[in-house]
Symmetry: C2
Amino acid sequence: MNGAESLLTTLTNNGIEVCFTNPGTSEMHFVAALDEVEGIRCVLCLFEGVLSGAADGYARMARKPASTLLHLGPGLGNALANVHNAKKGHVPMVNIVGDHATYHLEYDAPLTSDIEGIAGPVSHWVHTSKSPDDIARDAAEAVRQAGIGQIATLMLPADVSWGDNSNGPEEAVTVEGPAQVPESRIDEAVALLRSGGNSMIMIGGREVDSQQGLMLSRIGKAAGARVSTETFPTRVARGAGTAVIDRLAYLAELAIDSIKELDQLILIGAKAPVSFFAYPNVPSAIAPDSCNQFQLAGPNDDIDQVLESLLEKLDAVDVEPDVHPLDIPEPPSGALDANSAALAIAHFLPENAVVVDEAITSGLAIFPLTATAQPHDWLNQTGGSIGWGLPAAVGAAIACPDRKVLCLEGDGSAMYTVQALWTMAREHLDVTVVIFNNRKYSILEMEFGRTGARGGTPGPKAASTLDISGPDMDFVAMAQGMGVSATRATTAEEFNAQLEEALQAKGPRLIDAMVPTLF
Amino acid sequence: MNGAESLLTTLTNNGIEVCFTNPGTSEMHFVAALDEVEGIRCVLCLFEGVLSGAADGYARMARKPASTLLHLGPGLGNALANVHNAKKGHVPMVNIVGDHATYHLEYDAPLTSDIEGIAGPVSHWVHTSKSPDDIARDAAEAVRQAGIGQIATLMLPADVSWGDNSNGPEEAVTVEGPAQVPESRIDEAVALLRSGGNSMIMIGGREVDSQQGLMLSRIGKAAGARVSTETFPTRVARGAGTAVIDRLAYLAELAIDSIKELDQLILIGAKAPVSFFAYPNVPSAIAPDSCNQFQLAGPNDDIDQVLESLLEKLDAVDVEPDVHPLDIPEPPSGALDANSAALAIAHFLPENAVVVDEAITSGLAIFPLTATAQPHDWLNQTGGSIGWGLPAAVGAAIACPDRKVLCLEGDGSAMYTVQALWTMAREHLDVTVVIFNNRKYSILEMEFGRTGARGGTPGPKAASTLDISGPDMDFVAMAQGMGVSATRATTAEEFNAQLEEALQAKGPRLIDAMVPTLF
């Protein structure tokens, strides 16, 4: 058994079922091994940023990591932005990065680079396998390190891949579960919550599922505390029957205002809230100085344990949670804009859908309007690196073939990783993509004002860098060019009809929604 | 004057005329400064891999660096692959990477990352500016470091950008010219060349211009030595009137055979030849052990000085160089394939064109057939990281608005940075793109065999990762979706007509050339 076969066998023994790949010459023995080892689905992507985003979306929905296969340092570089997003969202990933044969590196061939150096900033664990006899053990360690929320990046030199592994593959390793939080610490939180004043409990981590949401609502009511998620929770259960939970605003000015009265802020898997960017005259830490911010649990701690313990300690088990009713708006009519599109999405969203949100400004109305829609999961952009949505939708659809994935994309953000559409077509993924085509980097127009640059008003050259009209992009043509059926909507009625049809059909569809800018 | 304005003024004082950009919130003061500082052309790209490749193509043709503007670590990550290619080609680049305000970093906002860590592996010089008073001085140093062939990456924290620079901008710095090679070393090379046996002189560096080529030919004839470029010279003058110079083969097997009789190999700006990848049973260093490889000059040494000195020492000044005649083939007829397409390109190539070659397997016949075409410059993929061609064509066209750029692209490689088409349309660039659409990663089919994986024959899963049909990509639709006029050619006659028309017209055109695989 060669190194590559022992690696793949070890991955499958550890429950890894999918490899998102864009291979090159140095990975050919890994590719060959796909036909020798049962149990790995190999999904080809045309660009590495697609496959790392897909690995993120997959892991969020499958609740376990996928593997990637990348071609040397530049391939990892192309994947880097979406690995960053996954890292910030506490999403596990096992990256396999091919490298030149160990003995070839000293010759500095064109594709030679410091791969460990590139991997370091976006990985929790980085390792280069030195021998075919090591690779299975190293792969098992990568899986263990990826564990419940880490990025593990393992370099696979070509000779380690093609050489004979006399040790054979590794069996399943024990992946550490989430860390337990000491009861004494939970008691401290309870005491804080009972100390009077204004309290908020903010939940974070890899996921807020519907049971956690309901527990949190009970706890909040029992403690007289507001409950909230972070601004961009990695995965959150929403819609009818889920708990009423706030979401911290993106705009620091609004977020600051929303928590300015807080005396204590209990953080469960969430980070202390900070401004997404720095702005002149806006503080970085946005809770008031007088607020006691108490880190009850980190993102890799056992959030279920913490919630269950709080429920008991606060006598909240029998408290009725605040729950969203099913309240679906009528479909809109007339002009198509961010608001009418949001109404249509809230109306037509099918039960159990997975919503992938990278619609930036045009998506702002969709989140509140879908709070009472059919139950669904919502995935957010966790690291701020644009070009995540279409790839994440690929991964979510592969993880959940029986659920409709609805991908909400800005036109600007779609263009970073537009090649994802091809993989949707190739794999017949059940994804409906809505492109909000306002022909602007609308968020940057707003941010230009917020930073106060040039008094908040861009001059002509600055304005041209925020404007992506001229030429106007035609996403119908681009999607069709990659094998995805697509239509353009210019009125609410057209959008309604196209969205309903796309969501009822099976397979990839794209709607190029022509909307004005929101601001 | 704020930091950003002092930075931009310093860049313009140092002759930097173009900034390829994809900005974000933390760069808004830089963007605002574009309207305050004269002399910088700002070119918006929809993805950072486009802009770094454009900066590469620009610098090769302008013979001076462009600036990039990138958004934090992930933006730099997206740019990384084409920065790698530029680095391997000794192409200068000044990267400006926005970062959070210095005081904001400790809060670990979503876009926070170790930018210096990401920059290090692809940069010769990395620096983070700490204060608005420093930024102009740091920018001047970045330009000096980029110099004649380096990657300089300067981080611009948002508060350094928006704060007041009391020192003002910097004037032009002195960029070190290429290093002189001691005459004694040149004498050593002459002695080697006169020592008998089989000799080759291999030239590398940032460029082999027509004068250098003619000098090299004279030198080779006088010394009885073969003359050659590296496999992928960064920029080389070719066509009628240029010198006859070999090119080292890509395939190690062929390259080894071509130099197996060498007794001495004199390297002028070139590296000792190595196999592009490692393969079982193929040596990494491909010159015979008995060959004396003499590094006469490095890529940043003064190659003109070396050639002029060799000319004199070898009494070669009056030797007639071997020069390519003008010999243009007839346009092809019948089937469209890699060979007939090459004939058409050799026939229609206009004088003074810039050819950007990332056609991989389908382009193999074009290089030899254009040796006697109209004079032109040829740019190669120097770092092996795919997705360079379309972006490099953008940059070359901006550097040389009066020259036709012909971009030869594989279908697979085009898809890494296909967003470059939009910038071609936006800037009305005079680029003709030919996509060789064979619906395969054909190079990888060949490489699979060369690596000997699975006996050289891919199984069904492996084969599927090398096959990019299903869905078939329609580059006409994609190009039109990004505002570029496009046509499809399925016969040699169609290709002739479309190529002639595209090369005679001004502005961006794409031809989707449907060709069978070469192997």
